[in-house]
């Protein structure tokens, strides 16, 4: 308990000290790393200890204090440690401390140096509290908190309008997801009367078969016969998954992540690749005891994951901004993880989450090193031939690309293979289709990964002269993290070798078992070999295609773009989803707001109020005329009054 608390509190302390000295001044002003970096590494060390204890059988579930208590509602701030939490702790603190180190070099001389370190601390704290949580509400709290950090860090260079736009977009799109997530938690409470995992998961099996009528309120309108029954567990699962869709940038809420690349590259590596965006996958894995009870929700998770994987990969193949390529790749890989979870292969999903965390952080930091060397240049078309000038960056980037492509024996191979194998194995034609989607995506992945590698590092230099002048390899604070992650990209997969030596599978299956398919894991039949062979073949094909297009015949891509202009433009423009949302949601909302204001508030309501005032005033003015002082007028009014009186007596009397 103390250890878990310390893991989370160290980054918080770093945030407070660095943040306050950055704002108000103090001995560490401009040297925030002196506090932040040691805090991050200490947190990493403690996480490793906790992880080791967890493999030895440590389980913890304890409340720190009661946060909100009202009537029967009770939510605590508490910690839970199990293998899932333990591996997440290691991933988060590892990438976080390496990114801390890298930031010293990358953000050197930046005006917001301390602010950046402060936010890194706040983010690390929030992310750790998220994975340590033992209840839904705390998860939600830090879910939004990491979103806030993401917002603040995307807007780090707040003078750029594009950065601010991207930050606001990220927050708002995530809020849309959180809207569903929040309703899911409310439904959890009304269904189970509690929001802590233990109670909810314990009671969940008893709720199978219980349904709700979504159209119930229509009864009030006299339509009591209308029914749309939905299983309460399915509804909970789907609502929670809406949150995961937002955070993990799945279809249709993926649009914020590529834009989030406006933020400095270290946070793209930490937040938008390795940790925060994987929170959605973590959530799905965490609530697996609920999801397992609802085949419908599982099918939705798998389908959304598969569709996103393919969709994002088709965009990544044509983008020209190096960070955006990696961002779409992240969306695609997150889709793989969701696909795995939806098929019940949670361990495979989390395994891929871990390996992906290593190699994707590496790729982003590699991009950062390139961008740093080229003086903030991010366009592929102005790179090329950097291999000799940035040798360490090149070698480590190569390791990342090989891992991402899923080539043996690099990290991505083992985890992706396991996902594809799970899809192949799962019953039903839908699962086979998803396997096919995964296979095609694997080919595309290798293609865009090697395209990136070749156009940046190989071929002739297209670097602008002014950038070429001070082209240099990055300082060692930046290359050390690259090397560490490079090594991990090679070896991280070995914690999950297929077969009986699958360490990570053994560790995690206790937490997130799924009766469905994972039993078949042990068998090493010919089918498995063929499936592995096919996915490697797809990756090699993608590699080959990239080699052909970007090394052998560099004129080919332009030719293809000319041959298939519609397809090329669609991919280049990200299938026009942003434009669609702009037309459908953004502009109508603002227009509606202005129309409502001018129409209803100003005209109808205030018009009425002022109208009443004016009428009364005018009536007064008119009545004033009666007091003219002329005797014949008063006589006339008297006669009119008498006639009226007489008439009334005649009518009602």
């Amino acid at each position: 308990m103390t250890l878990a608390l310390l893991i989370a509190l160290l980054p918080l302390a770093s945030f407070l000290t660095v943040g306050l000295t950055g704002l108000f001044g103090g001995p560490f002003r401009g040297r925030g790393h002196l506090i932040a970096v040691p805090a991050a590494f200490a947190s990493l060390l403690l996480s490793l200890i906790v992880c080791w204890q967890a493999t030895e059988g440590l389980r913890l579930n304890e409340d720190l204090y009661v946060w909100i208590a009202s009537g029967t509602f009770r939510a605590a701030i508490g910690f839970q440690i199990d293998p899932l939490t333990a591996v997440m702790l290691v991933l988060v603190t590892l990438v976080s401390s390496l990114v801390h180190l890298y930031t010293i070099g990358y953000m050197h001389g930046d005006r917001g140096y301390d602010r950046f370190f402060a936010y890194l601390g706040l983010f690390t704290f929030s992310m750790l509290m998220l994975v340590l949580s033992n209840n839904f509400l705390q998860l939600y709290v830090f879910w939004e908190a990491v979103g806030l950090c993401s917002y603040l860090l995307i807007a780090h260079w707040y003078e750029r309008k594009s950065a601010c736009d991207a930050a606001t977009k990220a927050f708002v799109v995530n809020r849309v997801g959180d809207f569903g997530f929040g309703l899911g938690i409310l439904l959890v409470f009304t269904t189970f009367g509690a929001v802590d995992y233990q109670t909810v998961f314990g009671m969940a099996p008893a709720m199978t078969g219980v349904t709700l009528n979504l159209l119930g309120p229509l009864a009030w309108l006299g339509l009591s016969g209308v029914h749309w029954e939905i299983g309460v567990l399915t509804l909970i699962g789907l609502l929670l998954f809406v949150g995961a869709i937002g955070k993990s940038a799945q279809l249709p809420l993926h649009t914020w992540l590529p834009d989030a690349m406006e933020g400095p590259t270290p946070i793209s590596a930490l937040i938008h690749a390795a940790t925060m965006v994987t929170a959605g996958v973590f959530l799905v894995a965490r609530v697996s005891p609920l999801l397992n009870l609802s085949p419908t929700a599982m099918a939705v998770v798998a389908t959304v994951g598969g569709a996103t994987a393919l969709f994002a990969a088709t965009i990544a193949v044509t983008q020209t901004d190096i960070k955006r390529i990696v961002a779409y790749s992240t969306v695609s890989q997150l889709g793989y993880m969701m696909l795995a979870c939806g098929l019940g292969a949670y361990t495979a999903g989390i395994f891929h989450l871990l390996t992906h965390g290593a190699f994707k952080a590496l790729l982003f930091l590699g991009c950062g090193s390139v961008i740093h060397a080229l003086n903030q240049e991010q366009d592929l078309r102005r790179m090329g031939g950097l291999r000799s000038r940035l040798p360490i960056t090149y070698l480590t980037f190569l390791a990342g690309v090989l891992a991402l492509s899923g080539l043996p024996p690099f990290a991505g191979f083992f985890s992706k293979d396991e996902i594809l194998w799970a899809a192949f194995q799962a019953p039903g034609i839908g699962a086979k289709l998803l396997w096919l989607v995964g296979l095609v995506t694997a080919g595309l992945t290798a293609f865009y990964a090697f395209r990136l590698l070749y156009t940046v590092f190989h071929g002739s230099s297209r670097v602008r002269p002014e950038a070429a002048a001070h082209l240099h390899e990055s300082p060692s604070v930046m290359t050390i993290p690259l090397v560490v992650l490079g090594v991990l990209s090679v070896v991280a997969g070995w914690i999950g070798l297929p077969g009986s030596t699958n360490w990570i599978g053994g560790l995690l299956s206790g937490v997130m078992g799924f009766a469905g398919h994972e039993a078949g894991h042990g068998e090493e039949g010919a089918a498995h070999t063929i499936v592995i062979g096919l996915s490697v073949a797809a990756a090699v094909a993608g590699w080959g295609a990239a080699y052909l297009c970007y090394v052998k015949r560099p004129d080919l891509p332009a030719l293809w773009a000319q041959r298939l202009p519609t397809l090329y433009q669609a991919s280049l423009n990200k299938w026009y989803v942003d434009e669609l949302y702009d037309r459908l949601f953004v502009r109508p909302t603002v227009q509606l707001a202005r129309a409502l204001w001018r129409g209803i508030d100003v005209r109808v309501i205030d018009g009425t109020v002022n109208g009443v005032g004016m009428t009364l005033w005018r009536l007064g003015r008119e009545a004033q005329q009666m007091q003219s002082g002329q005797l014949q007028h008063y006589a006339l009014f008297m006669v009119i009054g008498l006639v009226l009186l007489a008439g009334m007596m005649y009518l009602f009397g």
């Binding site: 946060w67 709290v141 003078e159 849309v176 929040g182 409310l186 009304t190 219980v210 009864a219 204001w597």
Partner: protein
């Protein structure tokens, strides 16, 4: 302790009288600050010695006033009024400090108005006699009218008269309800006795609507809200803060103190209607805020949206809803008051409230920017800040009555993120405009006004338990009072959204107590 409460109520008024004797403006300010600070200190023992294990009125003081009609001076507080009294005493020193430079003419009269306001507001929250309540209620109107009408902006007369007439219309209905209850409730103005008496359904119906209009205008609920943006825009900063933080709570306090206990049947009958109006206020207010180019109007409309959560929470009649609403009243007081302070700070520097005149304020004013962002995040209900706890509890309460109601109002939280972050983006971020390049960051005086509010934002957000513990018993009593008459059949259909008997334990609303 009854005398103590009386002291708390009348100290500001006594101070106001004493202030007549002071001549120099600087001395007037210092004296006003001293009085409000003394008042704050004086109110703290109420918090300390409040008995959290009972719902009965505490610190009760009683004295005959007009015996011919059985009218008493009778005051006391419970878990509903205590937090609101402390909110008032906390904010008044802030109001005095923020007027230090902003008010440069008729300083003495201004401070006297503020102090009289304070007595009237605390009086409203602690009155236990209906006539006394009404006197305080009306007494608030006059200083506020003067604050807007004398020290306000260019269009202040229109705004002041609009404010006055709107609320006066409500007050008249309240007076009618007061007299009706006197005759029907056993010829007494004792609020406790009036709450215990039971009234016929038709009587409840008429009294409820009189109450409703009086309070709905104060909240303000849609469509009675249009006085609010005008009043806020024209009022000086301190006026806006008092208006947003305390005056808007009067309506919601009235619903809790009068409608629910005295007209439970009619309240239940009106619930669908009020829920609909609340949702409309939440969404409509948010849309209005989105359309504004004037910072004060934006925050004023966001108030309409936020207060929608309060009225919704009150009218779901369960512990979570009402506690959430009460907490949200405090939160709104803290956060929206702070946002108006922030706008006031900008206005003092540039004399503009238009969003378009700002941009990149973070560069010259980093500390101010940090504060504004914190309050904006609090206002949009970010977890970890105060508003989240309140809004979440309201949503829990609403969800138990009808998930659709909760879902619709939760849409307002998305919209809140949109209009607040868009505001932050246009004011704080972006390239620094030449006009704001040399603005000084917060002075000590300004930092002192914002610091306690920042503290409250996080304290309530992270550890709301002390505040909730004060409310529990009183809220449970109100919920029991409204529940003592069962729902009429028509309303049952609404709340029973779940079909058939298929639902398991806890799924049917009402099973979770």
């Amino acid at each position: 302790m009854g005398a103590w409460l009386t002291l708390v109520i009348f100290l500001p008024a006594a101070g106001a009288i004493g202030l007549w004797a002071v001549r120099r403006p600087e001395a007037v300010k210092a004296a006003a600050l001293a009085i409000t600070l003394a008042e704050l200190l004086l109110s703290l023992p109420l918090w300390g010695s409040f008995d959290r294990t009972t719902a009965t009125m505490q610190f009760v003081a009683e004295a005959p006033w007009i015996s011919r009609f059985d009218i008493f001076y009778r005051v006391g507080v419970d878990g509903i009024s205590l937090p609101l009294i402390l909110l008032t005493t906390l904010l008044m020193p802030v109001c005095v400090i923020c007027s230090w430079r902003a008010i440069d003419r008729r300083v003495k009269e201004f401070m006297i108005s503020l102090l009289l306001m304070e007595t009237a507001m605390i009086g409203v929250f602690s009155a236990l006699d209906f006539v006394l309540f009404y006197v305080f209620w009306e007494a608030m109107l006059i200083p506020m009218y003067l604050i807007i009408g004398v020290w306000g902006g260019p269009n202040r007369l229109y705004a002041a008269i609009k404010f006055f007439l709107y609320t006066l219309a409500g007050s008249l209905l309240l007076l009618i309800a007061l007299i009706a209850l006197y005759f029907e409730g056993g010829r007494t103005f004792d609020l406790m006795k009036l709450m215990e008496a039971s009234y016929s359904a038709p009587f409840q119906f008429w009294v409820f609507w009189a109450f409703f209009l009086a309070f709905a205008i104060k909240v303000p609920m849609f469509p009675f809200h249009t006085w609010l943006p005008d009043a806020h825009v024209e009022a000086p900063t301190a006026g806006s803060v008092v208006l947003a933080s305390v005056l808007l709570k009067m309506g919601a306090y009235g619903f809790l103190r009068f409608c629910l206990p005295m007209t439970p049947h009619a309240s239940q009958l009106a619930m669908p209607f009020i829920a609909a109006l609340s949702i409309t206020a939440i969404l409509y207010g948010a849309y209005m805020a989105l359309a504004q180019d004037d910072l004060k109007k934006l925050i004023a409309y966001s108030s309409v949206s936020h207060m929608g959560f309060v009225t919704l929470g009150i009218f779901v009649f369960n512990v979570q809803g009402v506690e959430g609403a009460l907490l949200q009243m405090i939160n709104h007081g803290v956060t929206t008051g702070a946002l108006f302070l922030c706008v006031g700070l900008l206005y003092e520097r540039t004399h503009s409230r238009m969003i378009g005149d700002y941009g990149g304020v973070a560069r010259p004013m980093p500390v101010f920017a940090a504060c504004l962002v914190i309050f904006a995040l609090s206002s949009l209900g970010l977890p970890g800040t105060n508003s989240f706890v309140g809004e979440f509890l309201v949503l829990v309460g609403a969800f138990r009555i009808s998930p659709w109601v909760a879902a619709l109002s939760a849409l307002g939280i998305i919209l809140a993120a949109v209009y607040l972050l868009w505001m932050v983006q246009r004011v704080v971020w972006g390239a620094t405009r030449p006009a704001v390049e040399r603005l000084p960051d917060l002075s000590w005086r300004e930092a002192v006004t914002l610091a306690p509010l920042v503290g409250l934002v996080f304290w309530i957000g992270v550890y709301p338990e002390p505040l909730l513990a004060v409310m529990h018993h009183s809220v449970e009593q109100v919920v029991a009072q409204v529940g003592r008459e069962s729902l009429p059949d028509g309303a049952h259909l609404l709340v029973r959204w779940i079909a058939g008997g298929g639902a398991g334990p806890g799924v049917v609303p009402g099973v979770v107590p």
